[in-house]
Amino acid sequence: MTTTSTDHRADQDAAGSGGLRLLDVTLTLGDGDTAVTALDHVDLSVAPGEFVAVVGPSGSGKSSLLAVAGGLQRPTAGTVHVAGAELTALRDKERTATRRRHVGFVFQQSNLLASLTVREQLLLPLHIDGRLDNAARARAGELIEAVGLAHRAGSRPHQLSGGERQRAGLARALMTSPAVLLVDEPTSALDRVRSAEAVRLIAEQTREHRTATVMVTHDTAIMDAADRVHEMVDGRLS
């Protein structure tokens, strides 16, 4: 991929095929008698700027959906497109690079690195990609501001509250201007008020940054902010 991610996304927007597209995706885990169908012929399209929530009980395949959509796991069958690239056709190395440049993950309980300050958490993805420059530093400052952590930029994870960690994780996911934002149980460590705030922020950032956002959760109280809600049961998406 020689174009920068923003250019690339603009191209894809124009072509109407950006964002995230899963076509007839099946994921079978294990084999023989112990085989489990985690994803069962799943189709899902999310346009840039669209916020989709997937709800379902634990074990319904929600995490598998994120793993496959973000290229962490290869589906058994079907295709996954991220920002116009067919993820399922790429070799491991290219898949990792695509994930690095076009996919933003917000993990459960935010998953920050213990030794880094909030600002450094944000710079890390660009350092990994070899693009840590002044523009990146400026962008980190803006995103920290946008998620309301300006006063916490120099703090390390153990000094932050659950909500602050979640916001830092969201800001980090947005650092690479990803085409796809994948959010895993963002409210699992938060109370009701903070949950609502966190999801509102995700919705806001989805529109602001035109990401194709998929949020999986078992918390039905937070779905209002989403443009669309899908339910997942036994690997099937409705």
Partner: protein, 375 residues
């Protein structure tokens, strides 16, 4: 090093503990190296100082040649005529006891490692004070270790058994020893008296004998033919060190201790980084999920390993050098730059090997574990 440096700072207590172990091992490494060089100096510095390339011993003497070998005048004459032999001359080696009979320390017992050499030859010492050896004078040139016992130029020693009176004519102010005893140079006849413990006139046979033929060989010298003709075996000077008393045992003991030390260090470093990597498993999964190639994480981890090892080794080596400098003169101890560089290099190198084995498990971490509640 983006993450490695920040982890070092964040977990500095743990890294400081491990670094302290490596630093202490480096201190021990420097001290052992110093002791090994010091023991080697005490054992064979006299041989090392000989201006020759080889020593030819009686082929019947297969161990401890310096006390067992005897060569004859014909041997060094034959050797000196061989193609490619620049010089061949007799060399006598014996340990002798003597008493100071004239001088400040009168009555004092001294041990001498007596090197019998041809006066005026390149083998003869160049004294820093007094005079050199002369034929038939029963004079000896002592070295610093004997001077440290209070013997000085002008004193007279009397050898035990042979009762030969030895006039101290010169001093070489360097510490030159053999078998942990200070070297004294004597002309060959004096050496023969001391070696055989004979007073008065020497028997004819003894007048023609020495311990070994000291050889200066050019490359391509016809050694095999000369060995055959003289029934001797030519060893390089370095090989002959092993024939001096205790040298092989001392150097192999030191090598064994050092070997264990490096192995322990590599294991400690390996164990630390194994635990560290296991603790970091969730973070490594996260890095991979964020799209970090395994190579990026490995490079970061290895840079951290090398930074810790180099820092700790440098610190330990500095402390070792300070302690070692204080030991010089009080123990058989000498600091040699190549030995210390080798010791430090091995510590860093083997530590890195230990750590590489540990951080290799980074490759096996599954980024998938960053998802879900399993962290």
């Amino acid at each position: 090093m983006f993450l490695a440096l920040r982890d070092l700072r964040f977990a500095r207590g743990r890294f400081a503990l491990m670094g302290a172990v490596v630093a202490l091992i480096a201190v021990l490494g420097v001290l052992l190296s110093g002791l090994a060089s010091g023991l080697a100096d005490a054992g064979i510095s006299g041989l090392r100082a000989l201006p020759v390339t080889h020593l030819a011993f009686d082929e019947k003497a297969t161990s401890e040649q310096f006390s067992r070998s005897t060569v004859e005048q014909e041997d060094w004459e034959t050797w000196s005529e061989v193609q490619g032999v620049e010089r061949a001359e007799p060399f006598g080696n014996t340990l002798a006891n003597a008493q100071v009979t004239q001088g400040a320390e009168k009555g004092e017992q001294v041990n001498l490692a007596v090197f019998g050499v041809e006066p005026g030859s390149p083998m003869a010492p160049s004294p820093s004070s007094g005079e050199g050896l002369a034929d038939g004078g029963a004079g000896i040139v002592i070295t610093q270790e004997i001077a440290d016992l209070g013997v000085s130029v002008g004193d007279e020693l009397t050898a035990d058994k042979s009762e030969v009176r030895l006039k101290v004519v010169g001093l070489v102010d360097e510490t030159i020893s053999y078998g942990h005893i200070g070297v004294a140079y004597a002309d060959l006849d004096t050496w023969r008296h001391l070696h055989y413990g004979l007073p008065g006139d020497l028997p004819e046979a003894a007048k023609r004998q020495a311990t070994a033929v000291a050889l200066t060989l050019e490359p391509g010298a016809d050694v095999a033919a000369a060995e055959k003709a003289t029934a001797t075996r030519a060893d390089t000077k370095e090989t002959s060190f092993g024939a001096s008393p205790g040298y092989t045992a001392e150097s192999s003991t030191m090598a064994l201790i050092k070997g264990f030390l490096y192995a322990i260090s590599a294991l400690v470093v390996g164990a630390f980084f194994t635990v560290w990597t296991v603790q970091r498993k969730a973070e490594i999964a996260l890095l991979k999920a964020l799209g970090a190639p395994t190579g990026y994480i490995l490079r970061d981890a290895l840079a951290q390993v090398v930074a810790v090892l180099v820092g700790a080794t440098a610190l330990g080596t500095a402390v070792g050098l300070a302690l070692g400098s204080a030991m010089i003169g009080k123990a058989p101890f000498s600091l040699s730059a190549p030995a210390i560089a080798t010791s430090s290099g091995l510590l860093i190198g083997l530590g890195t090997v230990g750590a590489v084995v540990a951080v290799r498990r980074i490759t096996a971490v599954d980024p998938l574990t960053a998802l879900g509640a399993s962290r």
